[in-house]
């Protein structure tokens, strides 16, 4: 794929910084696209979808369509009305399922961009063009189309009608807008100004009904996970995000979705089905990982400890600290010259590599710990990597707090200064998505952290504040201590609550007393006025002919 001169650097998911998004019909496409339609053929909507594709404004020589026949019975032939370059392929060896169909389609595809399309979608004529304009501006975008669901009578619509409507520019009139319902993701679009402010969570609205992405990005993310029958698009979205992708919804890429979507109506069942799968694979869905103390297929954070030049005690303190974290889905990678450790004859206590040997022996059995000689550049698809120098221990809540902080502020790299020697000894939390994107957009020779700073943020802080301390001063809190502490707080809060209540009572009693006295004083004043002042005044004033002050017009009651 020919990339533009310089990739735009999009911070978090704010695709609004991309300049020069062309208006539809006013630009010259360059990239080819392969539309992949996985279909089971059971719903009979494929001819309509192909009819919609047949009248696209996107240049024909850049558009190919691959129909992947995933039905129980092989499809005999393609419908009559279809784009010129349309191929029909069928999975071999009895393999089936939408993710496999997609992978197969993508591997056959020749286009620079792969565009997923469900077989029950009738595209507006400029749909493909609308999505494709984004791919000409940056090569790490995942563009999402904008379908609306309608409930047509199947006999009501024929491919001919669709084609005629498309050619007449009247696809919008095929159905009534007011009878249609938006996709469930649209609420999120609205809330986040079309995902611009969605930050690191934008991937969760990745829906594969009509979306497109560069073929290279799809390959880099590892293709679709074929073990997922549902929710495969969400999981792919997660991995694309870790590969650095930005998600761009385009409301101009319109389509009619014929029939109800699977999610609507059977939502609880769909969730029940998807959650075990997604919980294993998408670590950032924290609500699916509430059980303490168990492992998952994709950990949340990979802690990297370098054993070179460190003692057993130092490495052990750091690794144990990480494994004992309250964030349970942690994996630890210890780097060191492991291949040096041979089985040759040696004096056990005077082995020059004694510490290395003890370290590797000490974690033999823990599946969460791996030993590596050269650290891979990325821990994809694990979303975070935490480099911790040996001898420094992250507290039990440190990883959780750090990641929450980094998420809240869309940080790409968070460095923690620990100690200053000739250099500053520091720990470092890296966001895989940020580093992946930085690698995608960095110029040769550019400092990667500078680029990370542009696409996410980088920040320095002190380890102490986040509970990363020297092994000598590290403390762990046992559940019993926490429980005791909690009890103490509860008791204290009861005492304080009691005191507050007492004060409140006193305060209101004070109010009441004051009110009572005020009323009493007014009453006394009235009585005095009536019984004493007025008779006296009358007696005095009448002979002199004075006006009574209380008889003056406009005076209120005294």
């Amino acid at each position: 794929m020919t990339s533009p001169t310089r990739q735009p650097r999009i911070p978090a998911n704010d695709h609004g910084v991309i300049e020069g998004v062309p208006a539809l019909g006013e630009w010259t496409p360059r990239l080819s696209v392969s539309v992949v339609i996985p279909t089971s053929g059971s719903r009979g909507t494929l001819p309509l979808a192909l009819a919609g594709l047949a009248a696209q404004t996107y240049p024909r020589h850049l558009l190919e369509v691959i129909v992947v026949d995933d039905g129980e019975q092989p499809m005999l032939r393609l419908p009559e009305i279809r784009p010129e370059r349309t191929r029909l392929i069928r999975p071999k060896d009895g393999r089936w399922g939408k993710p496999h169909a997609c992978n197969l389609g993508a591997s056959t595809a020749e286009g620079d961009v792969v565009h997923w399309l469900d077989d029950d979608l009738v595209l507006f004529p400029d749909h493909v063009e609308a999505q494709m304009r984004w791919h000409h501006l940056a090569d790490y975008l995942v563009v999402l189309g904008h379908p609306r669901s309608v409930q047509p009578d199947p006999s009501e619509l024929s491919p001919n009608e669709v084609l005629a409507a498309a050619e007449a520019g009247a696809v919008a009139k095929l159905f009534h807008e007011e009878d249609s319902t938006p996709q469930w993701t649209e609420k999120r679009w609205n809330r986040t100004s079309d995902l611009r402010t969605a930050g690191v969570d934008a991937f969760s609205v990745h829906v594969g009904a009509t979306s497109s992405l560069p073929a290279a990005l799809f390959r880099a993310a590892g293709g679709m996970d074929e073990s997922l029958m549902l929710g495969e698009d969400t999981e792919l979205g997660y991995r694309l995000a870790q590969a650095g992708a930005v998600f761009v919804p385009d409301r101009a890429a319109r389509a009619w979705h014929l029939g109800r979507s699977t999610v609507v109506g059977r939502e609880p069942e769909v969730k029940r089905h998807n959650w075990p799968y997604l919980g294993e694979r998408v670590p950032t869905f924290r609500w699916l990982r509430k059980t303490p103390g168990r492992g998952y297929r994709v950990p949340y954070v990979e802690v990297v400890v370098d054993a070179r030049g460190a003692s057993l005690e130092e490495v052990r303190a750091t690794v144990d600290g990480a494994l004992g974290s309250w964030t349970p889905d942690v994996s630890v990678r210890i780097t060191g010259p492991w291949s040096r450790l041979g089985d040759g004859r040696r004096a056990p206590l005077d082995d020059p590599d004694l510490d290395l040997r003890l370290i590797s022996a000490g974690y033999e059995g823990d599946a969460r710990v791996t030993f590596t000689e050269d650290l891979p550049a990325s821990c994809f698809p694990i979303p975070f990597r935490f480099h911790c120098p040996a001898g420094w221990v992250p507290g039990q809540d440190a990883l959780g707090r750090l990641i929450a902080f980094a998420d809240r502020n869309a940080l790409g790299v968070l460095s923690l200064a620990l100690e200053e020697r000739d250099e500053v000894v520091h720990a470092r939390l890296e966001r895989t998505a940020a580093l992946s994107r930085a690698r995608l957009v960095a110029d040769p020779g550019e400092d990667l952290d500078d680029v990370v700073h542009e696409v996410f943020g980088t920040l320095w802080d002190v380890g102490e504040k986040w509970g990363v301390v020297r092994s000598e001063s590290a403390t762990t809190v046992s559940p019993e201590t926490l429980q005791a502490e909690l009890e103490k707080c509860r008791a204290r809060s009861l005492v304080l609550q009691d005191r507050a209540n007492r004060w409140r009572r006193q305060a209101t009693r004070g109010h009441a007393t004051r009110r009572r006295w005020r009323h009493a004083s007014r009453r006394v004043a009235r009585v005095l006025m009536r019984r004493v002042a007025r008779p006296v005044m009358r007696r005095v004033a009448r002979p002199v002919g004075l006006r009574m002050p209380w008889a003056a017009p406009g005076r209120g009651r005294l």
Binding site: E419, E420, E454, D461, E464
Partner: protein
């Protein structure tokens, strides 16, 4: 001998307050700020003289009219309210006759103000007591320099705040002679035009229209009474003001500054702003001065007062163009953008620009220098500054000289102390020759203690102020000028900036720490200290030790009873080098512990007028 004489000042917009603060005297009151200096001074002594002022600022306006206060055996000075930063009103006695007769002195705090009651064994001049009380309140004897001014005409009180050495006269003159000298050098008359002729040919006259009068010609800053920088100044500026944007509105008989329905400050028709009013406005983000029907020069006067106090003023383009504001202040006002006020840093930058322009154009000292020059009087030079720049790294000499070369608005000489190398060495000689600065070189052996070198440098310095700068830090072009300005309005013996901005070289990050600024506090950055020569000599200079000479100097100033003032830190970026290149007491972590904002790379704020390294990112500490 009548019983009690009462004089009040500053209560025009708060008449009820006068009765509240002074229960034992019902009047009649002589209104000192409205008095005509031409009235004959009272010749009969009274039993008790009460002088009530709403604020220290008002008290300073009463000082020139001290001669109108009759002699009394009991003098009572009442200050209804003093700003939080003001010192206590302990009289600082001079050689005056009054204090020899002192029998009893009581100083009591009354709510937010003060009540001073002094009894004497015989009648004393009330004005003298008044000015000595003020010296204590604002720290030291501070009144304006030459020339000696004569005041005439109603409304002249605002022109010479805090100056007891004025001559009072009537609009028609003449000025009574002093012993073997004319009564004054220049007379300022506040009078409607056309003015009546002036009889005394020896003394030039400057006529000023009353503030509310329509102007004959074009407006000009010199037509406005000056801002009294000793009281209306940035002291107490709040960096994290959370309030709304207040608005200036007219009311019957004056103006108010309101925020929603709350009236924050009430101003008299003359637009006089006091220190107490400023203190009340510290929480507002800015003041909008949009459609106020203030006639004549009053609006400009209010705006100059607010700007001098560092309160951002939002004005329409038409208002900004008012020639009475002066070009500098108009330019500074034009940069105020209401949206930017939400950012603390932007707001402070705006505030610093405003206060600089306002204090340099409208402060009492520049104003009187201008008036005196236009009347043809010769003036003493402004106090020069000697910059003490010592370095032990010859590669830093060009950088350090460049930082000083860009200083503007001051007369400065450089005393360059070379610690362990000679001025004849390659890079050094060239740098000194290329510089346009007046440089005096002092050399010392590498083993000599730093304090000793600095003392030798100070000995060859000729300035009235000594400024110590470091060789590797960055200084904004107004660094020295702002320090001098801060010295002027704070009256402190030692002035310094806060090391708010720190560039942490080992991790290529700039942080801004939260340090309260614009306040009296003994913690200032060592590379920004400016000390008055007089105080420096009183102390005997730096301690002759190799390290922490800055901290030791501060301690000696404190011990000698001097005051230390910390001004804003926007002109200074401290460079925290690699630990291997320098001995640092604080590790990098210490700077990161309390940062408020953070930038990747070397970042300069706008006032530094330098280019930051190009990293757009910026980070603000979560609240």
């Amino acid at each position: 001998m009548s019983a009690t004489w009462g004089g009040c000042v500053g209560f025009g917009s708060h008449p009820a307050l006068l009765d509240r603060v002074c229960e034992d005297f019902d009047g009649p009151w002589t209104i000192l700020d409205g008095a005509d200096p031409g009235e004959p001074p009272p010749d009969e002594a009274v039993e008790r003289a009460v002088i009530a002022a709403r604020s220290p600022a008002d008290l300073r306006r009463a000082v020139p009219f001290g001669a109108l206060i009759p002699a009394a055996t009991r003098v009572c000075v009442i200050i209804a309210e003093a700003p939080p930063w003001a010192a206590q009103p302990l009289p600082v006695a001079g050689q005056g006759a009054a204090w020899h007769l002192l029998a009893d002195l009581r100083i009591a705090r009354r709510r937010r103000g003060w009540h001073i009651e002094a009894s004497f064994s015989g009648p004393v001049a009330g004005g003298e007591v008044l000015s000595h009380v003020l010296y204590g309140l604002l720290g030291g004897r501070r009144h304006m320099a030459q020339p000696v001014i004569g005041l005439a005409g109603q409304g002249a009180s605002g022109w010479r705040p805090g100056d007891p050495n004025v001559a009072l006269t009537s609009v028609g003159g003449p000025v009574a002679d002093r012993r073997d000298a004319p009564g004054c050098d220049l007379v300022l008359r506040v009078t409607e035009s056309p003015a009546c002729p002036w009889p005394d040919g020896r003394i030039p006259v400057a006529d000023r229209p009353p503030l509310s009068a329509a102007l004959d010609g074009a407006a000009h800053p010199d037509l406005l009474p000056p801002v009294d920088e000793s009281v209306v100044n940035p002291i107490g500026f709040r960096q994290n003001a959370r309030g709304p944007v207040a608005a200036l509105t007219s009311r019957a008989g004056g103006f108010s500054i309101t925020s929603g329905l709350d009236e924050l400050v009430r101003l008299p028709a003359s637009g006089e702003l006091t220190d107490v009013d400023v203190a009340r406005l510290r929480d507002v983000v800015g003041v909008a001065v949009q459609d106020v029907d203030a006639y004549g020069l009053v609006r400009a006067r209010i705006v100059t007062g607010l700007a001098a106090a560092g309160i951002p003023v939002i004005m329409s383009a038409e208002g900004i163009g008012d020639p009475a504001l002066g070009a500098d202040l108009s330019d500074a006002l034009a940069t105020v953008d209401e949206d930017e006020l939400t950012s603390e840093l932007r707001r402070e930058e705006i505030s610093v620009r405003l206060r600089r322009a306002a204090l340099r154009t409208h402060g009492a000292i520049p104003r009187w220098r201008n008036i005196a020059v236009s009347a043809g009087l010769a003036l003493p030079y402004e106090p020069p500054v000697s910059v003490l720049l010592s370095t032990c790294r010859k590669d830093m000499v060009p950088f350090a000289l460049e930082q000083m070369e860009r200083q503007r608005g001051v007369r400065a000489e450089i005393i360059l102390g070379l610690h362990g190398f000679s001025a004849r060495e390659a890079g050094v000689q060239g740098a000194i020759a290329d510089s346009s600065l007046r440089i005096t070189v002092v050399e010392a052996a590498a083993g000599a203690p730093l304090g000793e070198l600095l003392n030798r440098m100070a000995a060859v310095a000729s300035g009235s102020f000594l400024a110590k700068v470091d060789d590797d830090d960055w200084y904004g072009p107004d660094h020295l000028a702002d320090l001098l300005l801060a010295q002027l309005y704070s009256g402190a013996e030692l002035v310094g900036a806060a090391a708010e901005f720190v560039y942490l070289e080992p991790i290529n990050t700039t942080v801004r720490r939260r340090l309260g600024t614009e306040r009296f506090t003994p913690l200032v950055a060592g590379g920004t200290m400016l000390v008055a020569r007089e105080m420096f000599e009183t102390l005997g200079g730096f301690r002759p030790i190799p390290q922490t000479v800055d901290g030791q100097l501060i301690e000696s100033v404190e011990a000698a009873g001097g005051r230390i003032y910390r001004t804003h830190g926007l002109n200074y970026v401290l460079r925290r080098r690699h630990s291997r290149a320098h001995t640092w007491r604080h590790p990098v972590q210490a700077f990161l512990k309390s940062y408020q904002e953070q930038w990747r790379g070397l970042h300069f704020n706008q006032l530094m007028e330098s280019a930051s390294t190009p990293h757009a990112g910026y980070w603000r500490q979560e609240q």
